[in-house]
């Protein structure tokens, strides 16, 4: 039966090869998206698991503003708070390359005055390496020069590509942030189970602040790569539409040649069940081989090609984009779901018109 099926498919070689290629593409796109987003989600879970437990930001007129460091003493009075410290970070737009940088002051690393550590993305954009000097325009228009002391590693590009680590005094000089202010406050608590309670107490003690918990930070990346929104929905919509058109075209009827073929087989003594089995195998050959090819190509694209087709989508207007290779974390339940959502409907779409032709009078079908 399989031999006959393949011979039947090869009689319409051009059409079936085109069908195979389109179907492979339809599987390739969602599979690539699933692999990419799941991998990033898992990486985000692992990498960001030690992000600050609570971040306290000051809000004025609904916008994030600098926070007085005097708030630290008020927060320290709350039972359960272990440590509170000021965090200094901000953005700098570099008109030379049109890129946005994230500047931050590290609590652990004291950089000598006038030196910075930069991410690989910045080094590539500005062709800056250790020993080179970069110029920044301060808040008052004065040009400040900073010497590049070191680069963040390439492996950390996913978190440091656009980061500049700078000393506290240099940061305050650059942005005009006085000593009594900070960007926000970072808290450590004694009991992680009390995070929500402590956040509530901070909101009561400091009504002009908002609190961001670690679990909210982690949920951000679940939402970004969630199928209900974000990248997934935007890119899947096209593939879904293409698949629906394919299935509708298949289900809407057979060509006259295919009907004639069925009529001849019936006239030769084939039963309806034999014809349905033939069409079932035709559907399996096309859909299963397309599915396998699509999955393999998607894996190669995402995990060996660094999802090169998605970078223009994710990059948008960014000048800096991290060069990273997603780690192959694969959710097999999603792959199985993709299998059942692509192969089964296609086979059903193939069988329906075939059943109609197979149950009709062979003479009328052949004419």
């Amino acid at each position: 039966m399989l031999d006959f099926t393949l011979s039947s498919l090869l009689r319409r070689k051009g059409k079936n090869i085109a069908l195979f290629l389109v179907y492979t593409l339809i599987v390739f796109m969602p599979a690539s998206i699933l692999f990419f987003t799941y991998s990033l989600k898992r990486e985000a879970e692992i990498i960001l698991r030690d992000t600050p437990e609570i971040i306290v930001q000051r809000m004025i007129a609904g916008r994030h503003e600098l926070i007085p460091t005097g708030y630290i003493d008020k927060i320290k009075e709350i039972r359960g708070v272990d440590q509170v410290r000021a965090r200094l970070w901000g953005y700098y737009y570099d008109p030379v390359v049109g890129a946005n940088y994230t500047l931050l002051v590290s609590k652990n690393t004291a950089l000598p005055a006038g030196t910075i550590t930069i991410g690989k993305g910045i080094a590539q954009a500005r062709l800056a390496f250790p020993g080179d000097t970069l110029e920044f325009r301060a808040y008052d228009g004065v040009i400040l020069e900073f010497k590049v002391k070191d680069l963040f590693s390439s492996e950390s590009a996913l978190i440091t590509s656009d980061v500049i680590m700078i000393g506290e005094d240099d940061f305050r000089r650059l942005f005009g942030v006085i000593k009594e202010q900070a960007t926000d406050l970072v808290l450590q608590v004694k009991n992680p189970k009390e995070l929500s309670t402590i956040a509530l107490k901070i909101a009561e003690a400091l009504p002009d602040t908002r609190q961001i918990l670690r679990e909210e930070i982690l949920r951000t990346y679940e939402a970004v790569f969630n199928w209900r929104g974000g990248i997934l929905l935007a890119l899947l919509a096209g593939a879904l539409l293409a698949f629906l058109i394919l299935a509708w075209d298949k289900a809407s009827g057979l060509s006259s040649e295919e009907k004639r073929e069925i009529g001849i087989l019936k006239a030769l003594g084939w039963e309806t069940s034999d014809i349905l089995l033939l069409k079932f195998w035709e559907g399996i050959v096309i859909s299963f081989s397309s599915f396998l090819s699509g999955i393999v190509l998607a894996y190669l694209h995402v995990f060996m090609g660094s999802a090169v087709l998605f970078s223009p989508v994710i990059k948008g207007w960014s000048v800096l984009y991290p060069n990273f290779k997603p780690v192959p974390f694969i959710d097999f339940s999603l792959v199985s779901a993709l299998f059942f959502l692509s192969v089964v409907p296609y086979i059903v779409a193939t069988l329906i018109p075939s059943w109609r032709a197979a149950t009709a009078d062979p003479d009328s079908v052949m004419r």
Partner: protein, 99 residues
Amino acid sequence: MISMRKSSLFLIFVLLDLVLMGFLGLHAAYRQKNDLIFLEAKSALVRQLDLTDLCLFTEASYTRNPSQADRHTPFQDSPFSLEHFPSGSLIGPPPGSKP
């Protein structure tokens, strides 16, 4: 030359695909084990620098650090201004975030 049946050729094609998928599975397992060191190093860097977000969308502040941005920033340019960065249409506000 021995000519093979079409069904045999097809089954060989399927078998090769499955073998290739098996190799890719091994590749995935190897990369996961191998890259764990780098993931741990990144996690340590997050702890050291108090980082909160991945460096994926660097075109705007609220897409660069979506977990830290307030909800008004995408529309900050003027009253009734629309959100206009491409990556802003790809990510929404963090779930459960307060304005």
